[in-house]
Amino acid sequence: MKRILVIDDAATVRLYHREILEQAGFAVTEAVNGLEALEKLETGPPFDLYLVDINMPKLDGYGFLRALRKKDIPQAPAIMISTESSPSDRADALMAGANLYIIKPIKPDQLLPLVRGLLGEERQP
């Protein structure tokens, strides 16, 4: 089962993503901020995808991605989620190491194809 790390400081958002992704057959782990996400990387098997909020305490989404991309571990795609829509944010997210940048609020039928696409699973039954 593919493992996805959901990083967001809002509990409801994590739960929302968890339900969508678990129903689609993914295994979900949660982290409340970028630092905790980095800690999760140290304590378990690697993840296949990251779903990353931008604004979080302690370490934000950009900081997490920059640290992630420097790590000597199997790299996996990351989707950055933002509430803003200014073009510079998108550029910053991609620079920091995101593969995709999407704007909240997110609909399940929008998220799942993106996730499957990044995981190379487009042609799911």
Binding site: L35, E36, L38, E39, E42, K58, L59
Partner: protein
């Protein structure tokens, strides 16, 4: 009891604020009974008829003696030997190994165990070094251990323990490092001479200024008693108490990820610990 010795809601609030500012310990409403009880005890002991007189004394007494006594009464000192032992393993097998790669040979390696409570943790560290760190032949290691509670520090210096505290000490170590004294066990003189105990309030910048240049800090089961802002403040002081490249070990239910971004997360086979970057200034 005269009516005036009842502690009102406002008194409780005022006291809580004051105590929090002094120590970082924040009492939730659910602790009200415990706090009132301790306050009333101290009021009786000092002969204060009303909360107001007591509170005034607490705040303005020049020696601070009553505040210290009250702090002693309010702290939770529970601890035992080899609590969270995996971190001691991590110390001897991983942390020190890394530290000696960059530590100047002319200087001792400094370890700070704070809070010490009755001394089980720093003495345990000393025992571990003696037993499991052969490099001790080539290095001097200084251990300092501190607590806010002066009564518990006296106990730590005396090094006398009931059997409950030593239940996780393996028999050979018990034999080697303890002496039986009636129902109690006293820790050996070698160990008592290896640990310096000092009184420190981690919230006091002057106290913290005099505790610096450490390579490893153990701060376990203290931050859980603090609120977020005090935790952050304490973590930041520890950052400056460490040498660059120094490590901090927290209790197993505590994570720096929720406290401060100043440190790097380091994973060793035995434990996750936090490091002040080697290049930090």
């Amino acid at each position: 009891m005269p009516k005036s010795t009842i502690i009102s809601d406002e008194d409780f609030q005022k006291f809580r604020e004051f105590f929090y500012r002094k120590t970082g310990m924040l009492f939730e409403d659910s602790k009200r009974y415990f706090v009132d009880k301790r306050l009333l005890e101290r009021m009786t002991a000092t002969g204060c008829e009303s909360f107001r007189t007591y509170f005034t004394m607490l705040r303005f007494q020049a020696s601070g003696a009553e505040l210290q006594t009250l702090i002693n009464a309010m702290t939770v000192n529970e601890t035992y030997f080899f609590r969270e032992e995996y971190q001691f393993r991590c110390l001897v097998d991983s942390i020190l190994k890394e530290i000696i790669t960059h530590h100047p040979a002319s200087r001792p390696i400094r370890i700070w165990s704070v809070p010490s409570s009755s001394g089980e943790e720093p003495y345990g560290i000393a025992m571990y070094l003696l037993e499991h760190w052969p490099q001790l032949e080539h290095w001097d290691v200084e251990i300092i251990s501190s607590d806010i509670d002066t009564r518990i520090l006296e106990q730590a210096r005396a090094g006398l323990y009931a059997s409950r505290a030593i239940q996780h000490v393996p028999a050979p170590l018990l034999k080697k490092y303890f002496r039986r004294m009636g129902a109690q066990y006293q820790i050996s003189q070698t160990l008592r001479e290896a640990v310096e105990f000092t009184r420190v309030n981690v919230h006091d910048t002057a106290d913290m200024r005099s505790h610096r240049h450490f390579d490893v800090i153990f701060c376990r089961n203290l931050l859980i008693y603090f609120d977020d802002l005090s935790r952050k403040k304490t973590a930041e002081s520890f950052f400056d108490a460490l040498n660059p490249g120094g490590f901090i070990c927290l209790g197993h239910s505590e994570s720096m990820s929720r406290i401060s971004p100043l440190f790097q997360i380091r994973r060793f086979p035995e434990a996750i610990v936090y490091q002040k970057p080697l290049e930090a200034r």
